[in-house]
């Protein structure tokens, strides 16, 4: 292979590698951001629903309490109604607690996205550093050598980045998770 072809081959490999690496990571950024958005939307929807339900039940309970305070002696039905309302409020509070855990999940997704973005920036910094070492009169052999070194450096960075980006949040909804006792 001629020197020109060797140089061309290295450049092509580097450009293709950078493009593939960047593309893969940006697709993952997109996926994580969309998942975060879905979880946030669902959390707001469910929390709004819980809030309204609690408000409605507390209102109804207060109405019953006011009637009792005005009238005096509670009936068995009054007592049963108040007990049922307490149960309803607990259920709505539990639903809200489940929904509020969106913060933990979205925080992990955002953290993963930030790590990825930082990794990509470091990747571009490495390209810049190696590119900066090339001068207008740098010989082809040296360019080939440098391209080899930058490809190696980027490959190592790529592996390091992948090692810190394990996906730990796969939940697409805020339904409560499985429980398993060993």
């Amino acid at each position: 292979m001629t020197r020109k072809k060797i140089l061309g081959s290295h450049v092509k490999r580097l450009l293709s590698g950078v493009s593939a690496h960047g593309g893969r990571h940006l697709t993952e950024v997109e996926t994580d951001l969309m998942q975060t958005e879905r979880l946030l939307e669902e959390a707001v929807e469910r929390l709004t629903s819980s809030f309204m339900a609690i408000h409605h039940t507390v209102d109804a309970r207060q109405h019953t309490i006011n009637l009792l305070l005005a009238g005096g002696i509670p009936t068995v039905e009054d007592s049963a109604r108040l007990t049922a309302m307490s149960g309803e409020i607990s259920q709505h509070v539990n639903a809200a607690i489940t929904s509020m855990q969106f913060q933990d999940m979205t925080s992990q997704l955002i953290d993963r996205t930030l790590k990825r973005v930082t990794g990509l920036r470091d990747f571009l910094d490495t390209l810049d550093a190696h590119g900066g070492a090339l001068l207008p009169d740098t010989g082809n052999d040296e360019i080939v050598d440098r391209l080899g070194k930058v490809s190696m450096a980027l490959a190592i960075q790529s592996l390091e980045l992948r090692s810190v980006l394990r996906k730990s949040v796969n939940q697409q909804h805020l339904d409560s998770g499985d429980i398993e006792l060993f």
């Binding site: 607690i97 509020m100 933990d104 999940m105 925080s107 992990q108 730990s168 998770g177 499985d178 006792l181």
Partner: protein, 121 residues
Amino acid sequence: MAKTILAVDDSSSLRQMVAFSLKAAGYNVIEAVDGQDGLDKARLQAVDLVLTDQNMPRMDGLSLIKLLRELPDYAKTPILMLTTESSDDMKQKGRAAGANGWLVKPFDPQRLIEVVKKVIG
């Protein structure tokens, strides 16, 4: 006397939710912000149950469990994972480390209390 649960999670909102749910059911709750904090607090006071997240700074849940199991006071203490992780691979690692159960987030407070009651009464 009320049983005591050590809740380990780096998310303060999650710890609040867990503590709120368990205290409402009559348990005492000690909170820890990560695995190292959990280990330090477990050494200071023996608890009846440890509920730990997996992905935390300084020390993760699996590492915490392995170190707790080396402590005489914690050889048989029930330890449950409460985590976003749901893969069989992670559950197997948890079981091998010494966990007694695996709860996937988000948790439902009523179900959490049922599991805790089943494990420690």
